[in-house]
Amino acid sequence: MNIKHIVEAVLFASDKPLSLKQLQAVFPELQQPDLKALDAAVAEVMQDYQDRPVELKAVASGYRFQVVKEMSPWVSRLFDEKPPRYSRALLETLAIIAYQQPVTRGEIEDIRGVVVSSNIIRTLLEREWIKIVAHKEVPGRPALYATTQQFLDYFSLTSLVQLPTLQEIQKLNNPLKDNEQLTQVDREQQEINAQPLEETASIEADNGT
């Protein structure tokens, strides 16, 4: 077990800065190095990256790898792209959190009937549309998610109460209906995939190229 290697790996895997205490916590209880040893390991890693285009920096809440400033022109060109679209799965997850909060990932999966990927949760957390309000006291202590003020702001809502009620939603005119020209077969297919029309269509379109 090489402390320095572990510190380096964990800092790269984390999507936010980690403090020495947090670094300590990734070690099994009886093998935790003391903070001094961790501090030394961090310093060594910093040293290793001195001449590289990424560097390990101390920030307010801990340590984090970042791209060195000189690389900005190239890296920014990488991001110079159209904003991606969120998946249907992400929107469903967000809607369930809005309506069923506080809710665990497992409960969301039960409602959706499929696994919810960690990426979706992370994207929503990063976007600050959802937050963890507590951990449920059941085995695994899963996080309980709720929507945030930023979520309300984004959709110009002052409170969740402004969302349509369940009954209203069910009565909403299904926008699919208007341009729906499904044959019986397609309809079955759709049920099988439980994919909304648009998504299936785009999948096929993608492959048409």
Partner: protein, 277 residues
């Protein structure tokens, strides 16, 4: 090619027997139970769930005896297979139709094997087992491939993506836009599907209550406990009080908070069962 009716497979429903050691067919001892069947009945459901279907169960029976699939002794395997199926029926375990279909198929193959062979037939007679053997082999190699795929190093479990801070650089990384109606549409789809599946009901409290539940949990976060009355704001008026009250009840019902009284006649307090982060 195979009619289900040909199986004539009618099993009498009997009260579930807590203990049994033999199965009788029409009063006759139907052979001993397979040796590995010394399992408590309620474990049988688990046992059945361990199989991905009739092919999987058959493979298990074959492999248990260290036989090559191509040498499958149909009579013996059929006997064992049907003992399992009968036992599961007996215990009124939920048995997928495919299991019964396989029983019928095995029985059919077995009877075809018993027919006298026309040695002088000009065409080589096809082995009645050929199709089954082909399917078993095909399934087994997929089963094995699935296990190997499962063992491959994969993201989120064995290997991890790296993340570095690019916030200082990204001039402006556009985030996806979401239209309000798309969000509602997504939820509508969820409701429709949940309705079809009809297993997990969506809770029906008004949104004001769900919202307050999150707020209360957020408030309790990091506090040992809070005075019950602290969770109500006078200025919200009667409606707000009702919302808070319902929220606390619902939280308590879902086991997320406890309403406690430190001593008799003391003021009620609310404590988050869910520990803070």
């Amino acid at each position: 090619m195979l009619a289900i009716a040909s199986a004539n497979f009618v099993l009498e429903q009997q009260p579930v027997a807590p203990n049994f050691t033999t199965i009788k067919v029409q009063g006759e001892d139907y052979g001993a139970l397979p040796e590995d069947l010394y399992i408590p009945p309620d474990a049988l459901q688990v046992f059945l769930e361990a199989f991905e279907g009739p092919l999987d169960l058959l493979l298990y029976l074959i492999r248990k005896q260290n036989i090559d699939i191509v040498h499958i002794p149909v009579a013996e395997i059929t006997r064992q297979y049907i003992s399992y199926i009968a036992l599961m029926e007996q215990l009124q375990l939920d048995l997928a139709a495919e299991y019964l279909l396989m029983a019928a198929l095995l029985t059919e193959i077995k009877s075809r094997l018993l027919l006298p062979r026309k040695v002088e037939a000009e065409n080589e007679e096809e082995d009645p087992r050929a199709e089954l053997i082909r399917r078993l082999q095909e399934y087994e190699r997929i089963k094995q491939a699935a296990e190997e795929i499962d063992a491959l190093p994969r993201l989120e479990r064995d290997i991890f993506e790296t993340f570095i801070d690019v916030s200082k650089i990204t001039v402006d990384r556009p985030l996806p836009d979401v239209a309000f109606k798309d969000l509602l549409q997504a939820f509508q789809d969820v409701l429709k599907r949940a309705h079809q599946l009809s297993h997990h009901q969506i809770t029906k409290e008004p949104l004001s209550v769900r919202e307050r539940m999150s707020a209360i949990l957020g408030y309790l976060n990091g506090l040992e406990n809070a005075l019950f009355t602290k969770l109500f704001t006078q200025k919200e008026g009667r409606h707000g009080v009702v919302v808070s009250f319902l929220a606390i009840l619902e939280l308590s019902k879902e086991g997320l908070v406890e309403i406690i009284q430190l001593e008799p006649f003391a003021e009620l307090r609310v404590r988050s069962v869910a520990q803070s982060i």
